[in-house]
């Protein structure tokens, strides 16, 4: 699918693959999504669909071959420092849904838009019983300044060396030139129920994850 998209594909196509019991729905797709591929796209063209592994389509943009965390899988635990330098483990959030969003870097235009959008909708996430965690490779000091400047009410974690990003298999964009922008929604048992990838329409991450949480 990504193989047939041009370098700058502007159509906002999303493919959401929700919980197994729900109907998978496609919005505005122009071409069929191969169910067994894991790819990154710029404009939210697809998400990780199934639990089975499969080889990449030849012209995919993504950098890692296999997504290591797929929908339906239990997300691997990690412990990273937050913006105050305190270690935070993912397992601490078990018992409630968590939105884990990987973003390229603090103080970049897209990430700022995304962070502010999560901030502005934070109450809605809380109402849905969910917590929000942002993860990038920036250090705690950078996160602290970023969170303070934009008054972000949620936790930002410092993934030094992008270890967790690699462990989770977050695909890069532009042949790995850019860290990918991918969001995972974990249910209260820590199982991944939604993965959304969109590098250049960051606000859509909020729309899609909220839509999913409300429908859950």
């Amino acid at each position: 699918m990504a193989s047939s998209s041009s370098f700058f594909t502007f159509s906002s196509q999303t493919t959401l693959h929700s919980h197994l019991h729900r109907n998978t729905f496609l919005t505005k797709t122009q071409f069929p999504v191969p169910k067994k591929s894991s790819e990154s796209n710029f404009f939210g063209l697809r998400l990780s669909p199934s639990t089975s592994r499969s080889p990449l389509s030849p012209c995919s943009f993504k950098s890692s071959i296999f997504a290591k965390v797929n929908k339906g899988q239990s997300a691997p635990d990690f412990t990273l420092k937050d913006q105050n330098g305190k270690p935070v483990s993912l397992k601490k959030y078990k018992g409630k849904p968590v939105v884990v969003y990987f973003y390229p870097a603090d103080e970049t235009p897209g990430c700022t838009k995304q962070a502010c959008a999560f901030r502005d909708s934070y109450e809605k996430f809380k109402k849905a019983g969910a917590e929000v965690i942002g993860i990038s490779g920036d250090d705690s000091a950078s996160h602290k300044a970023f969170a303070s400047k934009y008054k972000l009410p949620y936790t930002l974690l410092s993934d030094e060396g992008n270890r967790v990003r690699k462990d989770w298999g977050v695909p890069g964009d532009l042949f790995g030139a850019l860290p990918g922008r991918q969001t995972y929604v974990l249910d209260k048992n820590g199982v991944v129920q939604l993965i959304y990838n969109n590098q250049f329409q960051p606000e859509k991450h909020i729309d899609e994850t909220l839509k999913f949480l409300k429908a859950a």
């Binding site: 390229p104 103080e107 970049t108 235009p109 030139a177 850019l178 860290p179 250049f200």
Partner: protein, 299 residues
């Protein structure tokens, strides 16, 4: 006020020494006032210090400022540039007639016009976002662009050769070798229009800052037709977030480049690969923000 941005530009040296530049009477101190407003408990002294720096920073050029007027050197460069263009055009026409070709050179000419718009956008984006006055070769131009953002209206006060001479110099050095090396009418069809549009892009740019009532009717018509960049479209470039509408020949590429986020992509790649932050990512500071209070007194 913008503090941290200075530390995030590894390629931009922070200069604290006031510059005495014979050319630019209005560009004295590079922005260092931001460096004074660091986190401190004593806000009052810092504010005063900042105001002092701002006062001796700049004042906009007056209409009769010599820096806006053309010199004979400027005129010579414009003449040289035009000569190389005419030579290229002549080679294209004469060669085309001789070879009974007209469509291919004409198409090449059109391609030159189209690509010049794209080229103007890419160059403008680069100059607006990266480097500073100490950058080799283009430092003076970068400084001039910064000054332009601060006082956009001054471009309409620049005399013709003053406005174009820098580009004319580049065109002379580029097109002259091509004139000497090639005779192909198609090549020269492209070169002559591409180079003409690039050289005169500053004039198109100045017209885009003009007011409808003061511009020649033909210019207004060409702007309205989209042949030249429109006043409205270029005006968008001078408004926050200052990261769009970079093309200044016809402006035809602006929509494509902005909607495709081409420059945003390039900026992100440069940031992650080279660690350089474009100026447009920072909050508007004194370098970008137009001095509207002074503009009304200058107009």
């Amino acid at each position: 006020m913008a503090v941290s941005f200075q530390t995030k530009y590894p390629l931009r040296p922070i200069t604290n020494v006031p510059r005495t530049h014979h050319r630019s009477s209005f560009l004295h101190v590079r922005v260092t006032c931001s460096a004074t407003t660091t986190t401190t408990t004593k806000t009052q002294p810092n504010r005063e210090k900042k105001l002092v720096v701002e006062k001796r920073f700049v004042s906009p050029p007056l209409s009769n400022d010599p820096t806006l007027q053309s010199t004979w050197t400027h005129r010579l460069w414009v003449a040289a540039g035009c000569t190389t263009l005419v030579a290229s055009l002549a080679k294209s026409v004469i060669g085309g007639v001789g070879s009974h070709l007209w469509l291919e050179p004409a198409l090449a000419g059109y391609a030159g016009y189209v690509l010049a718009d794209l080229g103007s956008g890419v160059y403008h984006w680069a100059i607006d976002n990266y480097g500073d006055e100490s950058t080799p070769l283009v430092g003076a131009q970068i400084e001039a662009f910064q000054g332009h953002h601060k006082w956009p209206w001054t471009i309409t006060r620049r005399q013709f050769a003053n406005n174009l001479h820098a580009l004319a110099r580049v065109i002379t050095f580029t097109v002259l070798p091509l004139d000497l090396a090639f005779n192909d009418p198609v090549v020269h069809g492209f070169v002559s229009t591409f180079a003409f549009c690039i050289m005169f892009s500053q004039q198109f740019h100045a017209w885009a800052h003009g007011t409808k009532s003061k511009l020649p009717p033909l210019v207004v018509a060409l702007q309205d037709m989209g042949v030249l960049v429109s006043r409205k479209q270029h005006g968008e470039h001078h408004r926050a977030p200052y990261n769009n509408n970079y093309c200044i020949v016809s402006g035809a590429w602006n929509k494509v480049l902005d909607e495709s986020k081409a420059f945003e992509i390039l900026e992100m790649v440069l940031f992650f690969k080279l660690g350089v932050r474009p100026r447009s990512w920072s909050e508007p500071n004194s370098e970008w923000t137009e001095e509207t209070d002074l503009s009304s007194s200058q107009a």
